[in-house]
């Protein structure tokens, strides 16, 4: 058992060392190394963008933009930091920038969207027995609450990290997470009553 644990730790260490080497090669200009990094991280980056935007095509655009920005900012990457976390920060910026552009394009304040989203989250979206149902409920959350729930609730970032990524106060982050959890809990209770 301990040998197996040791093996898995070794695998993790080797994987981390491989990633460091890939990052170093990419910083030196290796597109092939960067493609390897893309293959390793695209799932989590796209997953993050998908949950934050709630829209597949927009998430694809944001994930693509995040990797392009990552390539351009590689010289600034600090080797001691986690490459995955660094990528997530860039992806969050890509999502927020996209949301700003969309808001400017539509000329909306966002509050109307949030109102509609809150109504949807309150309404019955079907039984939340599967992950798919939960995904739908998360997608229906108001934008701010959804962003915080995805980063803190799904991807496990601390309130401080989440607040920094989103450019909001830690207190706002906590309040938004509470709001998101309340809306989802209400949804769960409604589902249980129906069951």
């Amino acid at each position: 058992m301990s040998e197996r644990t040791g093996d898995s730790e070794f695998e993790r260490a080797r994987s981390a060392a491989d990633e460091r080497r890939l990052v170093e090669a990419a910083v030196s200009g290796s597109v092939a190394a960067f493609e390897s990094l893309y293959r390793s991280h695209v799932g989590r980056v796209y997953g993050l963008c998908l949950r934050m935007t709630g829209h597949r095509e927009t998430a694809e655009d944001c994930a693509q933009e995040a990797f392009v920005q990552a390539w351009r900012n590689l010289p600034r990457f600090e080797a001691r930091a986690s490459f995955g976390t660094w990528l997530h920060r860039i992806a969050v910026n890509a999502v927020l920038a996209q949301a700003r552009r969309r808001s400017e394009h539509l000329g909306s304040e966002g509050s109307v969207e949030d109102e509609v989203a809150e109504t949807l989250a309150d309404a019955s979206l079907g039984e939340m027995h599967s992950g798919h149902d939960l995904e739908a409920a998360i997608a229906a959350l108001p934008t701010g609450a959804r962003h915080v729930l995805v980063l803190a609730g799904v991807y496990g970032y601390s309130h401080e990290e989440t607040a920094q990524m989103l450019g909001v106060a830690v207190g706002t982050c906590k309040a938004q997470l509470h709001r998101a959890r309340q809306l989802l809990s209400r949804q769960l209770e409604a589902t249980e009553r129906l069951a």
Binding site: G29, V31, F34, E35, Y38, R39, V42, G43, R44, Y46, G47, L48, L50, R56, A59, E60, A63, Q64, A66, F67, V68, Q69, A70, W71, R72, N73, P75, R76, F77, E78, W86, R89, I90, N93, A94, A97, M128, G131, L134, E135, L149, G153, V154, Y155, Q164, G167, R181, L184, S185, L188, E189, E192
Partner: protein
């Protein structure tokens, strides 16, 4: 029958969500199209050319200032108030200053420091103060960018800071060149 607490159930459901989702299409071709040619368009020597252009600008500035100092007292630095904006202020892909550029710039700054010592104290103090303020601003923005990589607003601010820095140098250059030309004209008049 045991009723599961909704909060606990929610935690369990959130914990079970897969964090990785594969996109329907491969995004790599779109990424590669933007990164590979970009490296081609901005090869290694691009940074060196940008640095060389800056070196010429700074060298001519220092020469002009030193020449002017030798012929007449340096006037006030009011021309700094209207810095020239360079069209060539984009130093690398995505407005990112690459490591080569940063190294070359450090070298230029060191050369400038050596020559700036020959300026009159008041002019030197003003020039150094202005440049130090811009370096400090650039450093702060770079630190913020390390925390928020890819932030478009910060990138724009950083580029503006570097543009302003070059603008100050160019303005002083312009001012001192005008001064040197006027001195030469006066000498020509005396000779006639």
């Amino acid at each position: 029958m045991t009723r599961i607490d909704p909060e606990t159930r929610l935690d369990a459901l959130l914990g079970a969500i897969p964090t990785a989702v594969e996109p329907d299409r491969d995004l790599w071709p779109g990424i590669e199209a933007q990164v590979a040619p970009r490296r081609g368009r901005f090869p290694r020597w691009a940074g060196q050319i940008a640095a060389a252009v800056a070196l010429v600008a700074i060298s001519s500035l220092v020469t002009a200032v030193v020449v002017r100092h030798a012929t007449q007292p340096v006037a006030g630095m009011t021309a700094m108030d209207a810095p020239v904006r360079f069209a060539s202020a984009s130093f690398g892909p995505g407005h990112a200053l690459d490591a080569e550029y940063v190294a070359a710039r450090r070298q230029l700054a060191s050369q400038l420091e050596q020559r700036i010592a020959s300026l009159p104290p008041a002019a030197r103090d003003k020039l150094e103060w202005n440049l130090a303020e811009m370096h400090r601003a650039a450093q702060e923005i770079n630190e913020a960018l390390a925390r928020q990589p890819g932030d478009p607003l910060l990138e724009e601010l950083l580029m503006n800071t570097y543009q302003d820095e070059l603008g100050v140098l160019a303005s002083v250059n312009q001012l001192t060149n005008t001064g040197a030309a006027a001195t030469l004209a006066r000498k020509e008049q005396i000779r006639l």
